[in-house]
Amino acid sequence: MLSRVAERLYWTARYLERAENTARLVKVYSYMMLDLPNGVGINWRQLVDISGAHEHFDRNYRSSGERNVIKFMLSDTDSHGSLLTSLAMARENMRTTRDLVPSEGWEHVNELYLFARKKLGAKTLPKDRYEFLSQIVMRCQQITGLLAGTMSHGAAYQFVRIGRNLERADMTTRMIDVGSTTLIAPGVELERLENRLWTYVLRSLSAHQMYRLYVRRQVRPERVLAFLLQDCDFPRSVGHTLGEIASCIEKRLPHNEEPLRAVLRLQRLVADANVEKLHTEGLHDFIDRMQLEFGDLHQQISGTWFSLELDDAVKPQ
C-alpha cells in the first residue's frame, strides 16, 4: 500500500471525526451557556481555546461574543479547525483515494460537504443551529458506519481507524480541560456548579447516558475523569481509543515498533493517572502533557508509514 494513500485515508478519518466533534461541541456548549449562571467563569472565548486555534482567532476577530465564536467554529474557511474546513479537507483527501473506499463512502462525504457549505455559506448562521449540528453528527456517524460495514478491514482500513481514534482521543482530552476551569460564582454552592459543568463535559462527548449506566453514581469530577480517561469500553474514552490504536498498529501494520512504543507510553500515562489528585490540582498540565504525547504519536505514525523518514523504513527490501 502506497504511503501517500495511507496518509490520505488517515487524514480523511481525522477530519471527519473532527467535524463530528466540532458539531457536538458547539451544540452542547450553546446549551451550557444558557444554563450556567452569568459570570461563573465560563464564556464563549473558552470554546476558541478548546479548538486550539486561538492565535488565528485573535488575529481575525475583535470580540469573542457568541456570534463571532460560532462563525469561527463553524464556517470560517480560513481557520484550520472550523467545521467547514474539516469537511472540505475530508472530502479532498477522500477524493484522491476513491479507488480504495467503497464508492458510497465518497458520495456521502461529498454530499455532506455540499450540504454544510450550503447551510453555512449564507450571510447569517443557520437559525436551526441545533438541528443542523445534530444532522452533521448523524451523517458523520453514518459514514463511519458505512466504512466499517463495507470496507475490507485490511491495512487501508486500519489507517482510517487510527485516524478516527487519535482525533477522538485528542478531542476528549480537550473537553476534559474545560473541567479544569476555576469556577467563581458567589452565592452558588461550588459542588453543584462543578457537577453541572462536568455533566456538560459528559454530554458534549455523548457520554452522559453511558456514564449513568456504567458508573451509576452521582456525577463527580474525579468519577467523570476516571470514566473519560481510563474506561476501556466507552468508545470516546481515551483509554478505549488508545486500545483501538494499539490493536490496529500491533496486529495489522509492518515496522510498527516505534509507533507502538508511543501508544504504550500514552496508555501507561493514562492508566497511572491519579484522578482524585488530578481533579484538585494539575489537570490542565496533565492534559497539556497528553496533547504533546498525541503529537508525538502522530509523528511516529507519519514517520514510519507516510514520509518514511525513520531509518528502519527507508531501507529498501
Partner: protein
C-alpha cells in the same frame, strides 16, 4: 425521432454508414435496418439508458477552465461507427508499419543520426525542435523501442481515402473511453451483438500489461508496474485510475517515487521502499525529472532520467519520443518509412505545407482561408486555425504568427471529414468524426480493433476534441466475410 435513412443525406461528405440516401453500406446494412425498425420512443429510451450508464460509471473528463467543478461527463452517441474488417486489416498493417518506422527513426535520432547525415530530414529541424531532448542522446531502451503506446488520429476524406492526421507518441489518452463505450453499447443493444461478429476491444488492458511487463529490466514473473499520473487535476486522471485498476497496477504520483543512490526507482509504501521496474508514465517529458528537465516540476521524480539511462527502470513512453510527433516531422514520415523499411507507406499522410520553406509559406499565407494551420508542438486542438471557419482577424493573427516563427507551423488543406449518423435532439443527422486507434509496440506490435471514434457534435464543426465540445461513439470492426 424515428429514423428514415431515405431522408438522411450527408451531402458532399463520405458517410460511414449510409452511402447515398436510403442505401446503407454493406457492413452496416443489418444495424441500419435494425435502427430504422426502432420507434422514436425505443430509441430515446436507449439513449437515456446510455447517459445513465455513463453517469453511473463516472466516465468523466476534466476541463481545466471549469475551476472547481472538475468532473464533467463526456457525451456519448449510441449509434456505433461501423468499419468492415476487410478494410480494417489494411489500416492495421499500415499502422504497424508506421510505428515500426517511427521507432527506428527516434532511436536513430538519439544515436547514430544516419537519417540526418543522409540528408533525408534536415538536421536543423531536429536540433531546433522543442521535443528533441539532448538528455536522451545515446540511450538505448529495450528492443530500441521508444514509443510503446501510440494513438494515431485517422480521418477519411470525401473520396473515402483514410489518412493519418497525426501521431501521438507522448501520452496519448482516450483508450479508456474506447473500452467503456463498448461496455455501454453492449448494455444498450445486446441483441445486435448476437447478430453481428464484432471484434472485441476489452482485451486492451491485458495487452498493455503484457507489453509493459516485457520492458522490465529484471527478469521477474511479477515485475512491479506502476501508472504514474500528474494527479487528480489532470484531464485524464479518470483514465489513469481506470488503467491502473484494470491492470492491477499501483497508481502513483511523482511524490510516491524516489530514486536512491543505487540509481533504482522505489515507491514509498507502508512496508518501506519497494523497487519499481516499469513506469507507464502519463506525465509529460518536461515535468518528469526536475534534475534533468524543468527544475520547478513538482509532478516528477528527481533522478528518474538517471535511473532510466542506467537501465534500471523502463519508462513508457521513453522520454524524448515526442521528437517524432512534432507536426513538422510528421510531414517527413513517408520519407522516414521509405528510408528505414524500404517500403511505400501503406497509409497516406494528409498533404502538408511546411511553412519553413519559403515557397510553401507564401502559398500558405496566400491561401489561409482554405487551409488548416497547426503549430508543431501542441495537442488537443489548441492553437490551430481552421481557415474556412475563421474570422479575418484570426487569419491575420495567424499570418503574423507564421511569419514570426515559420518553423513552428504546417498547413494542410481542410479535409472534408467523413460523417456518421448521430442522434441530435429529435433527429439523426450526419456529424463529422475521426478515429484514434491505439498501437502498442515492444518486441511485438498490437493494434486495437478499431479505436476511439470522436465526433464533432456541433453541426458542421470539424473539431472533435473532447476539450472543445466533441463526443464519442463506439467503433465496430465488423466481419462481413461469407455474406
Amino acid at each position: 425521432m424515428e429514423i428514415d435513412w431515405k431522408s438522411y443525406d450527408s451531402g458532399e461528405f463520405y458517410d460511414e454508414m449510409i452511402s447515398s440516401p436510403g442505401n446503407p453500406r454493406r457492413a452496416a446494412r443489418a444495424i441500419a435496418g435494425y435502427l430504422q425498425r426502432l420507434s422514436a420512443k425505443q430509441l430515446g429510451r436507449r439513449q437515456n439508458a446510455a447517459d445513465l450508464a455513463i453517469a453511473e460509471m463516472g466516465v468523466t473528463f476534466t476541463v481545466y477552465s471549469e475551476g472547481t467543478n472538475i468532473d464533467r461527463t463526456w457525451p456519448f452517441d449510441i449509434i456505433p461507427r461501423i468499419i468492415p474488417q476487410t478494410e480494417w486489416s489494411g489500416i492495421e498493417e499500415g499502422l504497424e508499419q508506421r510505428m515500426t518506422a517511427l521507432n527506428m527513426f527516434i532511436h536513430d535520432i538519439y544515436n547514430d543520426q544516419n537519417i540526418l547525415k543522409d540528408g533525408i530530414v534536415p538536421e536543423k529541424l531536429i536540433t531546433g525542435s522543442k521535443s528533441f531532448l539532448p538528455q536522451c542522446i545515446g540511450a538505448s531502451p529495450r528492443y530500441n523501442v521508444w514509443a510503446h503506446i501510440c494513438g494515431s488520429d485517422l480521418v477519411r476524406d470525401s473520396d473515402g481515402t483514410v489518412y493519418v492526421l497525426e501521431d501521438n507518441l507522448r501520452v496519448p489518452s482516450g483508450v479508456s473511453y474506447m473500452i467503456e463505450n463498448r461496455g455501454i453499447t453492449k448494455r444498450v443493444f445486446p441483441e445486435l451483438f448476437r447478430k453481428h461478429r464484432i471484434l472485441p476491444v476489452d482485451d486492451y488492458p491485458a495487452h498493455l500489461f503484457d507489453m509493459l511487463a516485457s520492458l522490465s529490466p529484471r527478469p521477474l514473473d511479477y515485475p512491479e508496474i506502476v501508472v504514474m499520473t500528474p494527479g487528480i487535476y489532470n484531464s485524464a486522471y479518470f483514465e489513469h485510475a481506470f488503467l491502473a485498476q484494470q491492470m492491477g497496477a499501483e497508481l502513483v504520483e511523482g511524490g510516491d517515487l524516489v530514486v536512491n543512490d543505487d540509481d533504482c526507482v522505489y515507491m514509498k509504501t507502508i512496508d518501506g521502499l519497494q523497487r519499481v521496474d516499469v513506469i507507464y508514465r502519463r506525465v509529460n517529458d518536461e515535468f518528469l525529472d526536475p534534475e534533468a528537465f524543468r527544475e520547478d516540476s513538482v509532478l516528477g521524480v528527481r533522478g528518474l532520467l538517471r535511473a532510466w539511462r542506467a537501465g534500471n527502470v523502463a519508462l513508457a513512453n521513453a522520454p524524448g519520443a515526442g521528437v517524432a510527433d512534432d507536426k513538422v516531422i510528421y510531414t517527413y514520415v513517408p520519407e522516414v518509412i521509405k528510408y528505414y523499411l524500404d517500403q511505400d507507406p501503406l497509409l497516406p499522410n494528409v498533404p502538408s505545407y511546411r511553412c519553413e520553406n519559403k515557397l510553401q509559406r507564401d502559398y500558405v499565407l496566400a491561401n489561409l482561408a482554405t487551409l488548416v494551420v497547426k503549430p508543431a508542438n501542441e495537442s488537443g486542438g489548441y492553437g490551430m486555425l481552421v481557415g474556412p471557419h475563421a474570422s479575418a482577424a484570426e487569419r491575420n493573427k495567424f499570418a503574423g504568427l507564421i511569419k514570426h516563427n515559420p518553423r513552428n507551423y504546417i498547413a494542410q488543406p481542410a479535409l472534408k471529414l467523413s460523417t456518421a449518423p448521430t442522434i441530435c435532439g429529435q433527429h439523426v443527422e450526419p456529424r463529422h468524426l475521426d478515429l484514434r486507434p491505439f498501437i502498442l509496440q515492444s518486441d511485438r506490435t498490437y493494434v486495437t480493433a478499431g479505436g476511439l471514434t470522436r465526433v464533432a457534435l456541433r453541426k458542421g464543426s470539424l473539431v472533435v476534441n473532447s476539450s472543445q465540445g466533441g463526443g464519442s461513439k463506439d467503433t465496430w470492426i465488423v466481419e462481413t466475410g461469407g455474406n
